[in-house]
């Protein structure tokens, strides 16, 4: 081989990075990619890393990232230290998104269905073929005047991508753009809307609170904005002022977050809302509420005396009053209502109850309490949910479905029959880069870029009391033959032609994005105040990773009044399907810290790092209290069948003392039937055996809604956990001091 050939190969292997070089590249022959190395792009110095600011899309928190790029390859992802949400930190999922980019199971080219639907038999086609296939389908639909029979379902999408999809659907003439993913916090949004008049999620100021009362919020791993809250948690515990905040967690199964609490209150599943109201009652009754309308609150809450609630919740009356006292007297205190609470059948009213607590203790609008986010109110179409899609599909009202970045087949209960209704849809196109369960149902797959290859932006919700917008920019050039989702939509618009094309005249999505930002720029006083030209501003935006004001926005005070809230107060504890005799155990499910709603299960790092609470790897499990298990003659590692009135799955038993004896718990995320070599065939999916229940107000799917029975079965599959023993045996491994001792200590350096 000649030295020159050698260099060429080197060049092809290490394709350069350069902004503005990312598009239309996929179709070029390899030789074209040599040019950057013969004339090296300015920002590529072999052996020297570039860090590109961008956005983490692994969950909806919207953390800012820095991608370390060397010779055109992304090497590592770290938090953007300037970013107000995550302050340079990053959770395991965010760091693992590198393996989304370099996943061996990515869909590398457009695919067209060849065999039967859902059988996974596809043939490779070109982008031209793929795009024209889809535009022809859409043109045909529009010629028949059935534009409203086009449905678009995407994950929770904010910012310019959301607007371009909206734009496209509107130009095309279909109102049926919906967002669905398992964790959407619709109950929380709705509750905050009805009780505080907010149109977005407020900033829960955990960092500065002195008493945190959490109703099943696993904010250390999955709830809303885990990295932000984890940082805040560290601040709360060992903050600058040296006063350590107290933390009480109310949930039937100790989550990772709960495991760090000072006290655990294992109220009976489904009664947490009642407990919240009982605490509220005690606050009013015992005189910790100073408002003039105390009497009307008392009247409103009269059904929830601690004495009565003690029977329902199985938490002693004294303890309820004690919590009320501490919560009502410690300044500032903060109550938060997490997934566990929000995912009951009447989850929305549970959150309302939590908001009442914050109001009564005077926590709303203060530092260390609930700080409303003034910016970016968001309109959520509570009715336009996944069930609406399924119903329409069953009624043959859907002709063409476009799916982006969401996997309803996996994340909806079997009882909802999502898969069957999708089968009624004549044409499904997916823009997924992975063969997930929903994509496997598609007729056409046009794989979109992963977030490290694409443009975008995001308006964090919850934010941190002021607006935070993050820019997503391509850190590397596309690794496979994929196209950005925004560009796919623009190409479709061109392909369809007519008024759709006329209304969407952007060259590519990066232009669209820039235009959107020009608009923001000219509207926003703060942005204009920087006295930069737009191009300077834009470059600064890219260099910083996004936009947020230099100083914190003024806090808007919001009061919660008892009027009108009545309708949303829970009348009773939440219901569970299945009679107590036949199905003796409550099933609670939770989004797993690594796999989340299942999306992380295809990343080998996330499979390999042990689950924080059980140390299980490469599989899933069901958590049982050791007492419950021994009564049933079940040992750790046994396989059991978990049966609800709606179905049956198998799982391995993990004995966990941190769960109520009448409750079992399973993580969500495993049990994929497809989705790549790392995810496929590992454990089971608890969503499968849930009934289809949604909160009537919000359409949010309820997850903690059924009882189950379990029985041993024989299985050759083994549960693998990393832990040897969890007993410390007096070896003083994790040493402790009491809070009293701590308070006596001199203020520490920090």
């Amino acid at each position: 081989m000649k030295r020159r050939d050698f260099l060429k190969i080197l060049g092809v292997g290490g394709v350069g990075t350069g902004l503005g070089y990312f598009f239309g590249k996929a179709s070029k022959p390899p030789a074209a990619e040599l040019i950057p190395y013969l004339i090296p792009p300015v920002d590529v110095i072999p052996g020297v890393a570039n860090w590109y600011p961008s956005l983490c899309t692994q969950c909806s928190a919207g953390c800012g990232i820095h991608v370390r790029v060397m010779e055109g390859r992304a090497k590592k992802i770290e938090g953007n230290p300037l970013h107000p949400i995550n302050k340079g930190k990053l959770c395991a999922r965010g760091q693992a998104s590198l393996q989304v980019l370099y996943n061996p199971d990515r869909i590398k080219k457009p695919l067209k269905r060849r065999g039967d639907r859902g059988k996974g038999d596809f043939e490779e086609i070109t982008w031209e073929e793929g795009l024209s296939l889809l535009s022809k389908n859409l043109t045909a639909l529009s010629e028949k005047g059935e534009t409203e029979k086009l449905y678009f379902v995407s994950s929770q999408t904010r910012g310019s991508l959301n607007s371009i999809i909206n734009n496209f659907m509107a130009s095309y003439g279909s109102p049926n753009y919906m967002q669905y993913e398992l964790i959407q916090n619709k109950n929380l949004l709705f509750a905050n809307h009805v009780s505080m008049g907010l149109n977005n999620i407020p900033h829960y100021d955990i960092a500065n609170t002195k008493y945190l009362l959490s109703f099943g919020a696993d904010f250390g791993t999955t709830w809303l904005s885990p990295v932000n809250y984890s940082f805040a948690y560290g601040q709360m515990r060992q903050g600058e002022d040296g006063i350590r905040g107290k933390f009480v967690q109310i949930e039937p199964r100790l989550s990772l977050t709960g495991a760090n609490a000072d006290e655990w209150v294992p109220a009976k599943p489904g009664t947490e809302g009642v407990l919240a109201l009982a605490i509220a009652y005690a606050i009013v009754e015992d005189g910790y509420y100073k408002g003039s309308d105390a009497a009307s609150w008392k009247a409103l809450l009269s059904e929830y005396s601690p004495k009565d609630a003690a029977v329902v919740t199985e938490i002693a009356e004294g303890r309820i009053r004690e919590i009320a006292k501490e919560f009502g007297q410690t300044r500032p205190s903060l109550a938060i209502g997490g997934e566990n609470l929000a995912r009951y059948e009447n989850g929305m009213s549970g959150i309302v109850a939590v908001n009442i607590l914050n109001h009564l203790a005077g926590n709303i609008g203060i530092r260390g309490g609930v700080i409303p986010n003034s910016n970016g109110s968001r309109t959520i179409d509570f009715k336009n949910n996944i069930n609406a899609l399924a119903t329409a599909a069953s009624a043959s009202k859907v002709k063409t479905l476009l799916v982006y970045n969401t996997n309803p087949v996996f994340t909806t209960p079997k009882a909802m029959k999502t898969e069957e209704s999708l089968r009624n849809i004549p044409f499904i196109a997916s823009f997924s880069s992975f063969m997930d369960e929903t994509t496997a149902m598609a007729d056409l797959i046009l794989p979109a870029h992963t977030s490290l290859e694409d443009w975008g932006d995001d308006f964090a919700d919850p934010s941190v009391g002021h607006p935070v917008v993050t820019i997503m920019q391509p850190a590397v050039s596309p690794f496979f033959n994929t196209v950005g989702i925004g560009d796919i939509i623009l190409s479709l618009a061109k392909g369809i032609g007519g008024k759709v094309k006329d209304k969407m005249q952007w060259n590519d999505f990066s232009d669209y994005l820039k235009d959107a930002w020009k608009a923001n720029y000219s509207k926003d006083k703060d942005m204009l105040a920087s006295a930069l030209t737009f191009d300077e501003f834009w470059n600064q935006l890219l260099a910083r990773g996004g936009w947020w004001p230099a100083d914190q926005a003024k806090v808007k005070s919001v009061a919660v009044s008892p009027k009108g809230i009545e309708a949303h107060i829970a009348k009773a504890s939440s219901r569970f399907e299945g009679d107590e005799k036949g199905f003796p155990l409550y099933l609670t499910t939770y989004a797993h810290s690594s796999y989340l709603d299942g999306r992380g299960a295809n990343l080998p790092w996330l499979q390999e790092i042990p689950d924080p609470m059980t140390s299980v790897v490469w599989g899933n499990w069901i958590e049982l209290n050791p007492k419950t298990a021994s009564n049933m003659g079940i040992k750790e590692g046994d396989t059991v069948s978990v049966e609800s009135p709606f179905g049956k799955i198998n799982a391995h038993v993990y004995l966990y003392p941190g769960i109520r004896p009448d409750t079992v718990s399973m993580p969500i995320g495993q049990g994929h039937s497809t989705y790549g070599r790392y995810a496929k065939g590992r454990g089971s999916n608890p969503i499968d055996i849930l009934p289809f229940k949604e909160d009537p107000n919000t359409g949010e799917l309820a997850l903690n809604v059924t009882r189950v029975k379990i029985s041993r079965v024989i299985s050759s599959e083994k549960m693998v956990k990393i832990e040897g023993s969890t007993k410390e045996l007096g070896r003083n491994i994790v040493q402790t001091i009491s809070p009293d001792e701590f308070n006596k200590m001199n203020k520490e350096v920090s």
């Binding site: 395991a92 393996q99 042990p610 007993k727 402790t736 701590f742 350096v749």
Partner: protein, 259 residues
């Protein structure tokens, strides 16, 4: 003759002068606040990503061959509802009197001038002695030549070796980052500043539980925290003199008033 003697005594000094080898350039130290750490495991993943740790799969994990240089140990005391869960991140403690170093016949693991317990992969012959002697069980062995499934190998960190079959490894305190910081400081004609070296785990930790710094720099955050009354070191009674300092978890003693 006199010259010869002089030479001998000069050399002798090198070996025998008290503190010659103890006079370190730095003494890198990790302080971990157990009251902040919530056990999330972000640091574990950061270490995988930074240090090219292989993913070994379910079967090897079952044999306790998972590669994590850093692990979160979780201890659970008590029974429902009086359950106490405690987390502790454990990586190589960079012991100043490291038992592992005594064990290695070939100096593949030794102490360097930065106070680090370093591991020279190329020199290791794979006797396992170091791992057996290490009281903290932090050493990991390349039981095979592990594959990085293509194209996942594109994410490999070029600053860190990909180890081959037959050698021992363990947490290095991200020595490549220490090197980079020292090189940069040298180029700029100054000493390394506090906070300039951020090992991957420290960098990622969402709660800010980990602080890294130079104990020889009295103004470093780590040196200050190391004096905290909450300070303790793991298995201190073994006298390995670890460089990882833990700050005690604040937790009520005795049963809590649950239920």
């Amino acid at each position: 003759m006199a010259g010869f003697l002089e030479r001998i005594t000069e050399r002798w000094k090198v070996y025998r002068e008290p503190g010659f080898f103890k006079k370190l350039d730095h003494k890198w130290t990790m302080v971990i606040d157990l009251d902040k750490c919530n056990g999330c495991g972000a640091c574990v993943l950061a270490c995988y990503a930074e240090n090219n740790l292989p993913v070994v799969g379910k079967d090897e994990c079952a044999m306790s061959r998972a590669f994590s240089w850093l692990r979160i140990e979780r201890y659970i005391d008590g029974e429902y509802p009086d359950v106490k869960v405690k987390f502790i991140p454990v990586m190589c403690q960079h012991c100043s009197k490291a038992p592992c170093e005594t064990g290695c016949p070939v100096y593949a693991t030794y102490h360097n001038q930065d106070g680090l317990n370093v591991q020279v992969y190329n020199r290791c012959v794979g006797t396992f002695t170091c791992a057996t002697y290490c009281p903290y069980d932090v050493r990991r062995f390349n039981w095979r030549s592990y594959k990085f499934e293509q194209p996942l190998d594109h994410q490999l960190n070029p600053d860190v070796t990909v180890r081959e079959m037959g050698v021992m490894e363990k947490c290095t305190f991200c020595i490549q980052r220490i090197r980079a910081a020292k090189d940069k400081a040298k180029d700029e004609g100054r000493t390394v500043q506090d906070g300039e070296v951020l090992p991957a785990c420290v960098q990622s930790c969402p709660t800010g539980a980990m602080i890294f710094g130079d104990l020889l720099d009295p103004n470093s955050k780590a040196a200050k925290l190391a004096k905290s009354p909450r300070r303790y070191r793991l298995l201190e009674e073994l006298n390995a003199d670890p460089s990882v300092i833990y700050l005690k978890r604040v937790m009520k003693e005795g049963p809590s008033k649950h239920g």
